[in-house]
Symmetry: C2
Subunit: 249 residues, 2 copies
């Protein structure tokens, strides 16, 4: 049973997220259908394990998944075979054979998410599913100043969606990046970390938008983190702007 | 009754084309709903007249339409008012007051269409609705040579969809353009003309793809035009790559 690791891109618009759910169209569900068809539907169905879930409407440029095939096929053959069986909103960007102890979720070291925001007075119809939309004027220099306050190990309780349950809310952000793409009227945020709570990135972006728009002070992030209160950060940027960019092992 | 001209962009993916059709979602239908709501639903419904139809899945960057409002509103107010009432896949890019004899269809001088083709081995999920897809290797220099043969006044019978009816199939192409966007793995075609037959642009692109791929000689376009036979040109590029870029008056 050779194990394969696949790098997967998908347009999340028409999916109910990554994870298999009964009678819903999900990325994992479509991948499992394709892998099992390629393997001629073995008696024991093949599971496809991702690095983690993404929500409905969230995209991926570099989601990582692993699966075991009942026979040995060259990597390029797996990629081409899956391409013919997958719907057009999923692309397998790369397939590699990996050791049997590789696990897409447990072996992951850090993940990088990108958030794209369309910052113009009117909505661009071609970006409605691929960016968040924010018509108000933003001062990019304020965001540049504030974003570094996210770096490091913190208790992210103030940035967790209500109802979210986890053993610990301590996570480490190892890198942040902010780009003001004037030509495309987009603001692009990137966050790398050891893990993120449910909706954490979208709340982190929401806080930066309030800072950039002047409704929250530039130095408010350390205070928010210290509060450990999920009522503090209220604006959650929409799913359509969020991309799982890469997973590092 | 002041007359307004609007420049309209739309993502054609979720529309059954431009023209109003009973129980179908169309761009004209959505525009008429929004204009009539903005005008407080007058007894005599306001019609929105476009420069011409676009098919299901075809996009517009600069469709032009006109309509008459029962009262005088500033141009910027019309734009903002419509923005709040239109679905997110339509954007009004500009509104201007025009003379009462302006007519979006009859006053049009030329139209420019753009065709975007994704030329890579695997489908990009983010481009599936916004480009045509052609995995085979293309020689761009062959397309560059051939495309100029479309210029000028011709009888386009060989480039008309079967079933198409028109008084005359003579049209003039006034400009052509071809760009090989290596960075984005896209081929971009542009055609300006006094008018185009049903599916003409998509068949013109199909012929250029056959020429670029070597299955049709580089000098085949003059022969095709001379044949005046719609069985000659068989490949119709998909609607998803086609954009109505601008209309000139």
């Amino acid at each position: 049973m050779p194990r394969y690791r696949a790098i997967v891109a998908y347009d999340g618009t028409d999916f109910s997220g990554w994870q298999v759910q009964p009678s819903k169209r999900t990325v994992q569900g479509e991948l499992e259908k394709a892998v099992n068809r390629m393997a001629k539907n073995p008696e024991q169905p093949i599971r496809v394990q991702g690095s983690g879930r993404t929500d409905a409407g969230v995209h991926a440029l570099g989601q990582v998944a692993h699966f075991d095939l009942p026979f040995d096929i060259p990597e390029s053959g797996v990629r081409k075979g899956l391409a013919t069986m997958l719907p057009f909103d999923i692309e397998i960007k790369k397939v590699e054979k990996v050791d049997a102890d590789f696990h897409a979720q447990y072996s992951a070291h850090t993940k990088t998410y990108q958030y794209r925001l369309s910052n113009r007075a009117f909505r661009d119809p071609f970006k409605r599913n691929y960016t968040g939309y924010w018509p108000r004027r933003i001062d990019p220099s304020k965001i540049e100043m504030a974003i570094n306050d996210y770096l490091g190990e913190h208790d992210w309780q103030s940035f967790a969606a209500s109802g979210f349950q986890a053993k610990t809310t301590i996570r480490t952000v190892t890198a942040v990046k902010f780009m003001n793409d004037v030509e495309h009227e987009e603001l692009i945020f990137e966050f790398t970390g050891t893990g993120f709570l449910y909706n954490q990135i979208r709340i982190m972006v929401g806080v930066l938008l309030e800072i950039g728009g002047g409704s929250r002070p530039v130095d408010d992030i350390p205070r928010l983190l210290a509060q450990k209160d999920r009522q503090q950060a209220r604006l959650t940027a929409p799913a359509s702007g969020l991309y799982l960019k890469s997973v590092d092992y």
